[in-house]
Symmetry: C2
Subunit: 174 residues, 2 copies
DNA sequence: CTTGGTGCAAACAATTTGCAAGCGC
DNA sequence: GCGCTTGCAAATTGTTTGCACCAAG
């Protein structure tokens, strides 16, 4: 299914979009910014700023946390990345270009995040926006609960409460 | 509409519920815990831990932040208080007993939080839970945008970005 | 009187900021 | 070269923890 091809294609595309966004805003096209965007689009999970920072370090990039945060904010502002709060004081991010809008179900036991899509969300946004005279720009819908696997584990007496999911792999990128 | 009467009645009720919850859990009924619960139920807004702490101080209570946080967690665990994250790294709370489930629209300009209710949310929870084999326990749906007032102000060139809303009034109690 | 709860302050974790040096334009 | 960006570390912010004392059961 040519997934790799599509990935490279996608990356070229988002780098371009970002480049244009920077130019339009009179912002500088630094290698750090592009490197961060590229690494984000090579991942397929939800991640936090620290994980991305570690990831960049593992790949032998020379970046600081400040730049990671700075760039993430830029990317959010041009809609290439989405920022979430899944109930904790820790911002989670995910790439968003080329994906259809979706929401999240979060397992309170293992921390797994599953995406879903329901057209009724849009209907609610439209209707509530009109009703409250709010100009809705975006939303966040999170369903919290226990996933099927964890329910089984819990029934068998195993409890892992909040195990970390999606840790970064050690550096092989030399 | 006898709002005051109802408020006193409601407060008696929640104090009772909390008392039972503490007893059932083998926890102590301290004056601080009841005082915090009572103050929460005399407020009608969304507030953060610090605001509640200041509020208690203004009312001449002798409480520490630690006790405020501790008690808030207790109250959340027995469903007398709900905890929210409105997109920032700052937990917001609101009383929840006697209110029907609702969600929130947040103005990104003035910070105003408006509540709304839509039955489709429950439908989504049910359907997605079944679909993903998740046992959904709770959810959070936040719509972000600009409220009518702010839109007008912005059109007139006034921008207040993130003005603080619902600050605590100075102490008049005593 | 036993032990959990408290106030206080120090510790922590996530994020932001200040500043000197570096590099895109 | 000008000044936005960077790396680094220190500062801030929200929340948690450690500890000596207090008071509920």
């Amino acid at each position: 299914m040519a997934a790799i091809r599509n990935e490279e294609e996608l990356i070229r595309q988002v780098l371009n979009i970002f480049s244009g966004h920077l130019e339009r805003g009179g912002l500088r096209r630094t290698p750090e910014r592009f490197a961060i965007l590229e690494e984000i689009y090579r991942r397929n999970d939800h991640f936090d700023a620290e994980a991305l920072y570690i990831h960049m370090k593992n790949r032998n990039y020379r970046v600081s946390r400040a730049t990671v945060y700075n760039t993430l904010e830029l990317l959010v502002s041009c809609d290439l990345v989405k920022k979430h709060q899944f109930g904790k004081n820790l911002a989670q991010y995910e790439k968003s270009f080329g994906y259809k809008q979706h929401d999240h179900a979060i397992c309170g036991n293992c921390g797994k995040v599953v995406e879903f899509c329901d057209p009724r969300v849009q209907q609610i946004k439209d209707m509530v926006g009109e009703l409250l005279n709010f100009q809705i720009t975006h939303h966040s819908l999170n369903l919290y609960g226990i996933c099927g696997n964890c329910r089984k584990e819990i029934e068998m007496g195993i409890v892992r409460n909040q195990a970390k999911v999606a840790v970064d792999e050690p550096g092989w990128g030399d």
